[in-house]
């Protein structure tokens, strides 16, 4: 049995006091052996599946890419430094996330903190990132509030647009189809009664009405609904050419299967989150062809194709065709901003992120008021790729295929 004498305790206290005092000091350049990247992401809980597709694999890929290239070049320190990672599980809880971000900033002395997955978590951790002066690259947050948020939180960046961007782009695309006479005037919308579904349907409903569409069905369903037979049965009797669902991944997959089973094959079949996932063609089988959804990629970009290959090689799964490439591009932006500043000066790097132009997998990127305004908004599965049909700044990469091919029996 060990006895703890008063002296030992006092010595211990002295050492820990010294350690505490030292840890508060800025790390000296010559002592640096790495750049510390911290992040708290949902590895368990409701958000784990989404983060496991769009966020975590890209963080892993970026760290791997940078370290394979020999690290980040910091001109003011004169040495290339590798990245080291501190990772926490936020268990899909915003409180846990905020605590972890505080811990990364104060205890782990992370040089940069990468954001968690999803709109809600990014909004919840915004004040914390801002308070500690860390740039926050919100690559998986869809919010119409971004123009206000950037004024409140100067270190925040919003890279995935807002509900209006996606809803309006879809309506514009459908107006063209109606004018060409390929679809009729009737539209049915089903949306999940949660963040994404509410935002999108709130933007879409007035937009469809203003464009002169007749909304014959516009209802929400609760989060976690597993059986869509009643919705599809009702909609299939309404004579619509366009079915729109602002859905979450499990719903997206179930709606597809139910529509195939009920042989409800409208000319335009548009679904929400999950349509752009690499597993969608596996789930829908041959019927994935022609399905539209949110997001999209440029199928002609060689850089993006190379990114898809590297991502698949490292993670064993392809990235999704919406937020994944944006997430990776945000990390490339961070990397280039750090190298241009040449030092771990977060204020200067934040300023560079807002004003600089960056060369990324999604092309040249320059933010407008800390927001990425150059986005693919509507995509469609064509020839095994989820190609972008509508973009906020350029023409679509492919023409929409309307009507989509009729379902074939599984």
């Amino acid at each position: 049995m060990t006895t703890i004498s008063r002296r030992t305790v006092l010595q211990g206290m002295g050492v820990s006091a010294l350690a505490t005092a030292l840890s508060g000091l800025p790390v000296l350049a010559q002592d640096r052996t790495a750049i510390r990247i911290g992040y708290a992401v949902p590895k368990t809980g409701a958000n784990a599946a989404g983060a496991g597709i769009s966020t975590i694999p890209n963080y892993l890929l970026w760290v791997d890419d940078v370290n394979k290239a020999g690290g980040l070049e910091l001109s003011k320190l004169g040495v290339p430094l590798p990245l080291e990672v501190v990772e926490y599980d936020d268990r899909s809880s915003s409180e846990e996330l905020v605590r972890a971000v505080e811990r990364l900033a104060t205890q782990d002395n992370a040089d940069f903190i990468l954001p968690s997955w999803g709109t809600g978590p990014n909004l919840a951790s915004g004040p914390t990132f801002d308070r500690f002066g860390y740039p926050q690259l919100g690559a998986t947050a869809v919010t119409d509030m971004a123009p206000d948020l950037v004024k409140r939180w100067k270190h925040s960046f919003w890279l995935l647009g807002g509900g209006h961007d996606y809803a309006n782009a879809l309506v514009q695309l459908l107006v063209k189809q109606r004018e060409a006479g390929t679809i009729n005037n009737k539209v049915a919308i089903a949306s999940v009664a949660d963040g994404f579904g509410i935002d999108l349907s709130k933007a879409a409903t007035p937009s469809f009405t203003e464009a002169g569409f007749e909304l014959v069905y516009d209802k929400t369903y609760p989060l976690g609904t597993s059986d869509f037979a009643p919705i599809i049965n009702e909609v299939s009797g309404l004579g619509v050419d366009t079915f729109v669902a602002f859905s979450y991944p499990p719903d997206t997959f179930a709606l597809t299967q139910q529509s195939v089973v009920a042989n409800f094959s409208p000319k335009v079949f548009y679904l929400g989150v999950g349509t752009a996932f690499p597993i969608y063609p596996g789930i829908a089988g041959p019927n994935h062809d022609g399905v539209m959804g949110v997001g999209g990629i440029d199928p002609d970009s060689e850089k993006l194709a190379a990114y898809f290959e590297r991502h698949t090689a490292l993670n064993g799964q392809a990235p999704d065709s919406w937020a994944s490439a944006i997430t990776y591009a945000s990390l490339e932006m961070l990397q280039q901003a750090i190298e241009r500043v040449g030092d771990i000066d977060r204020e200067a790097i934040t300023a560079e992120l807002s004003s600089g132009e960056f060369d990324t997998v999604i092309g040249k990127v320059k933010l407008v008021d800390n927001q990425l305004r150059s986005l693919w908004t509507v995509g469609q599965w064509q020839g095994g790729k989820f190609v972008g049909l509508a973009h906020t700044e350029r023409d679509g990469s492919r023409d929409p295929v309307v009507p989509k091919p009729v379902w074939v029996a599984a």
Binding site: P42, K43, T44, G45, A46, A48, A49, A51, G52, I53, A190, A193, K219, T220, Y221, P222, G224, T225, S226, D227, A229, P230, I231, N233, E234, P249, P250, F253, A254, Q257, Q258, V260, V261, A262, N263, G274, F277, I279, G282, I283, G285, Q317, A409, A410
Partner: protein
């Protein structure tokens, strides 16, 4: 339209009943409030998924592997983890409290293993997603299968429980575990067997559900919640009750979604649940509390 909604509702209710029947046995006979129940279902779904996608084994045949595995795993869980709790607790309340804590831990163990093995992503495959026409209403064959299995398992086990000597033994343990030893019943082994049968039913549910639902490693709790509602509504330990309550829930959800608003399905479910609790706290088929 009404007929079609009723049929769709019954088929959905079949899924609910199927996933709830195992829990009613575990809770009613073995007196274990198994919070890891949904994770056993998910584990079985992963089993079916691996057998189907990696080895090309049809999930129906896969059941022949997964159901015995579910039985064995639950038997082992009871023997190693829950039996000591059952032995040391003198009354039902204490065992319920202990088993809730123990299975709450088990939930994270199973979920953690699934996360390590399969990651957190969505899993889904398509099997028997073909339309079946019943009197002009189209339903998916895999959902119909869930309904048929629920009815077969429900009736089959009900017959075993009410018509056989062994069934009587199980009911004796469920009714009065303190007195059952007096007539020569080994409560430990009967409870263990009932718990394992519950696990086998959960595994059957998991295999069927994986044919048409997208699942992920962290989704078990959703099944536990739904099963718990069905069990409480039907009367704890009563298979017919679980079957009836499951079908009622499915019917109500579908009728509300078809004729009122899909947004109100959850509200309707809990309204029915609340009504049953107020009017018949012992459940639809349950006996009044002793």
């Amino acid at each position: 339209m009404l007929f079609s909604a009723i049929l769709t509702g019954l088929v959905l209710g079949g899924t609910y009943a199927l996933v709830a029947m195992g829990l009613t046995l575990q809770y009613g006979v073995a007196r274990i409030m198994n919070l890891a129940y949904g994770d056993i279902i998910i584990a079985a779904s992963f089993g079916a998924y691996v057998l189907f996608t990696a080895l090309g084994i049809n999930p129906l045949l896969g059941m022949l592997i997964v159901i015995p595995a579910g039985f064995a795993l639950s038997w082992l869980i009871y023997a190693v983890m829950l039996q000591p709790l059952a032995r040391r607790s003198r009354d039902r309340g204490r065992l319920e409290g202990d088993s809730i804590l123990a299975t709450f831990g088990l939930l994270f163990v199973i979920q953690g293993v699934a996360l390590v093995l399969f990651g957190s992503g969505f899993m889904s495959y398509s099997f028997l997603a073909v339309p079946v026409d019943i009197l002009g209403t189209t339903v998916a064959a895999n959902r119909l299968l869930a309904f048929v299995l629920a009815v077969v398992f429900g009736l089959g086990l009900w017959l075993v429980l009410t018509r056989t000597r062994f069934g009587t033994v199980i009911r004796a343990v469920a009714a009065n575990p303190a007195s059952a030893p007096l007539v020569g019943i080994n409560v430990d082994s009967v409870a263990r067997f009932a718990f394992a049968i519950g696990g086998a039913l959960a595994a059957a549910g998991g295999v069927v559900v994986s044919m048409y639902l997208t699942f992920s490693a962290t989704m078990g709790v959703i099944f536990t919640m739904k099963a718990l509602i069905v069990v409480i509504m039907g009367g704890v330990g009563n298979l017919m009750g679980a079957l009836a309550a499951g079908l009622i829930l499915g019917l109500v959800e579908t009728l509300v979604a078809s004729f009122i608003d899909p947004g109100l399905t959850l509200a309707a479910t809990y309204l029915i649940f609340l009504t049953v609790l107020v009017v018949r706290p012992q459940g639809l088929f349950g006996r009044a509390a002793r």
